[in-house]
């Protein structure tokens, strides 16, 4: 690491000359530092930016500050009500120690395809807000650990449209805690009059980025949720992902269990 600086207001962002790596809870950055990485980087500590840890309902939107921790997201009544899948995902991140420190902004900025919050953000139609612009979650990631963020562009928050939805998150990891997902899924359905009006479905850890199951969403729209529809949806979804073999799991297993967990998640909505 080359230098350590700290900013206390968003206004200071514009004055930064050197390219910075932003530091919030440190749960990714410090693991890299301990590994001897980031040697030539300037670290910019954003943890004292005021007001960025809030979670609030504003008008029809849920606004989550980039510095909100997973512990606070997991227990937030607003999130539980309007974005249950995000609360469920937050509760499965790492361990209590990690959830107390890791922020949603950091999880998004890190851009890992297995980042547990991200499928929920896709499914809920979230928008990522930076100091410069707003980008829909499913347009934000460009590859493994790659995002549209430009030099010194900072994620300031997430905005989720508040809807009367049913949403669920499910993941399969190698163990029950401290587990990096082998496959994860988030589902959000808006159902009225017995029909699915809106569907958001996404998968984690089965492609270079989190993957939105657009075909499956289209298939579900306007349908009545029943066992046959669910099983068809699960099959369609399994065709929309592109998992790989690595030391954590196999492509075959990921594809097959993706179908299982999406089917189970959809059944919960019955």
């Amino acid at each position: 690491m080359k230098k350590f600086i700290r900013i206390k207001s968003l206004a200071e962002l514009g004055k930064l000359r050197e390219k910075c790596v932003f530091l919030a809870g440190g749960t990714d950055i410090y693991v890299a530092l301990n590994d001897g990485a980031l040697e030539d980087e300037v670290l910019c500590d954003i943890s004292s930016l005021k007001g960025l840890d809030k979670i609030e309902l504003k008008g029809k939107n849920i606004n989550i500050g980039a510095l909100a921790t997973f512990a606070s997201i997991a227990k937030s009544p607003v999130i539980k009500k309007y974005a249950a899948c995000l609360a469920e995902a937050a509760a499965t991140v790492g361990s209590p120690q990690i959830r107390n420190r890791a922020t949603i902004g950091g999880n998004v900025a890190n851009g890992s395809p297995s980042g547990d919050a991200i499928p929920a953000l896709y499914a809920l139609g979230a928008v990522i807000k930076t100091n410069l612009r707003s980008v829909p979650a499913d347009k934000f990631f460009t590859g493994p650990k790659k995002t549209v963020l430009k030099k010194n562009e900072l994620i300031t928050g997430i905005s989720i449209p508040g809807k009367n939805n049913k949403s669920f998150f499910s993941k399969i990891g190698p163990r029950k805690a401290l587990a990096i997902s082998k496959v994860s899924t988030a589902v959000s359905l808006v159902i009225s009059g017995g029909l699915i009006r809106e569907a958001g479905i996404a998968f984690g850890a089965v492609g270079p980025t989190v993957i939105r199951a657009a075909e499956t969403e289209k298939f579900l729209k306007g349908k009545k949720l029943n066992k046959a529809v669910i099983s068809r949806a699960a099959k369609t979804a399994a065709g929309e992902i592109c998992p790989i073999d690595d030391f954590r799991s196999t492509a075959k297993y990921r594809r097959e269990t993706a179908a299982v967990i999406i089917e189970r998640a959809l059944r919960k909505a019955l």
Partner: protein, 730 residues
Amino acid sequence: MTGQSLFINDVQFPDMLYAATVRAPKPHIRIQSIDDSAAKKLPGVKGIYYAKDVPGDNRVPLVFQDYPFLAGNIAKFQGQAVGLVAAEDPATARRAAAMVKIKYKELPAVFDALEAMKKKSPKIYGKDNIFKKFTVKKGDIKKARAEIEVEDTFTVNYQVHAYLETQGAIAVPRDDGGMVVYGSMQCPFYVQDAVAKVLGETYNKVTIIQQTTGGAFGGKEDVPSIVCGHAAMLARLTGRPVKLIYSREEDFQSMSKRHPGWARIKYGATKKGKIVSCKVKYVLDGGAFATLSPIVLWRGTVHASGPYEIDNVIIETYAAATNKVPCGAYRGFGQPQISFANESLIDMLAGKLNMDPSRLREINAIKKGGTTATNQKITESIGLHKTMALAKKSVGWSKKWKKPSLKKGVKKYGIGMASSIYGVGLGAGGQHLAKSGSFVQIEPDGSALIAVGNTEMGQGARTVLSQIAAETLGAPYELVDMMPTDTSRVPDSGPTVASRTTVMSGTSVMNACKVIRARIDEVVRKELKVKGKVLSENGFYKIGNKKAPYAEIIARCWAERVHLSHAGWFRVEGTTFGEKDGQGNPYFVYTWSTMIAEVEVDTETGLVEVLNFVSAHDIGKAVNPREAEGQIQGGGLQGIGYALLENLVIDNGRMMNPNFTGYIIPTIEDSPDIKPIIVEERYPKGPYGAKGLGEPPLICAAPAIANAVYNATGKRIKDLPLIPERVKCA
């Protein structure tokens, strides 16, 4: 507990340097040149040293002495130590080590034990890549009248000890030219040997003191010889104290592991379920150097046919060399691998016989007067049947066990059982080490200290040995304490391994205490003015109904200048193993075990949940039942991890997951409550009837779970671990 215990990384010496290791970048290389000019220029770097700088002998003194402290021209696995850096702070040492450039030519490498044994494979050890081979031959397998046979092949992967404290040592030069080394270790006398060799020093100039050790499980048996040897070498070359603490990654990459293995087994039985023959071929992947592989293989060999009475047995075993991290000791020492194979196959035989597998085990379990595969007659302390009966009763086996074909649903329940035989101590394979020294002294205030050559590493030796001393001396337990193990206090007592501490050091301590106690008893008789047997109870000595307080008697002894200290000694004789046929009495006594696992298998995801786990052991006598339970539960969970989660991946010699992020050990959320059952079939020659316990709680855990998964799903998985990818696809 309060943060006061000092582990090696918590200790500081004035003027101390910090070390880091330069490691081989590829699995098999010829080193052409090394450029450390940039690293040496880094401010704070004190020196960088290589094989040519070793002051004494560059060979680690283990079984075959084929492993150099530092690689010379050839390095045989990725991560092998090539050089050592000493610097003023740890970060600089690590940075300098990373800056050393090794120029090399890659050599042909072999990564699979069976491949390595083929004629055309690249040779990395001898002419055939075979470190060691054993044969056990009992009866005549050709004459066995088997009516039903089962035969299959099984494989097991590595297991990593994953002790929470990584390896570490501090070497401090003595002003007389000698060396004191403090470290996290199981076997201070192995380390003494290694440090003396690497320095070219006599043993009396080398003192090894065990620091509080943060878990070991076999992983701190042989390899601390390397870590401490490196620290000592740097301390000698720089003339300053040197601290060497491993990072988690390098600990994974370079320290010992449980061997991966391959086994083909065949059982033959009568239609009524009497097993008449057993044929085993068992191969262990030893890695790049022999280290302890020959004796790990030997223990596996002796126990390879399981805890059953079988008249005709042939066992052939091999440890082969590959270009991977050297494997060594890990709780169970060659037994968990083969236990997975033979206990899985026993279940398959039961299936073929259309029999409850617990019944098949009961029919064939060794009974009093029966013989093992080496034709050793078991005449005492045999509680195998009891462990089976109590474990079955505890879970309600007879009501719960049903054939797999009767199970329905997505989530399926299964129950499985496995049993094991475990030879306590080093046995004939290590008879030269089967001795144990101790020193016991009662101080004028009545407190007593004991020193032994075995170590405490969390397994409870300190408590158990203090209890044995207190009991024998008649002293209150609170007044007895065990000193940190120090090679200058007691003579070479062999290693702290193989569940041998209670029997070996326990008997040695008891022997010393008996001598002191006889002297105390004389004083008691004089004080109480009566003759007869002196008993002790609650801090009093008594004869009949007359009694005197412990403290008073000890004060009296000191006033009369009675000698209240003694050096104890104990050795084991009479273990044998035939070179050609493997027949004989390899161990002096056996611990017997049975485990039962209840699982629920999610057949769609392949995830296995352990609902209940019962682990029953005949250990002769539980000197401290709570510590014994702790061993059973801790070993049991390591076994469950081995069965279901732990999967080290080495791809073409490169370790893919050398950390806790990728190598998955159980968290509290993954852990069922483990129910210990202790059976006490007294071993008359053990201290208070005790045998040994450390290793057995792990040995047959994996097959118990594999059998339960089979019972749930009707699908047999023959490769460990039972990761969901296998359970689902099986």
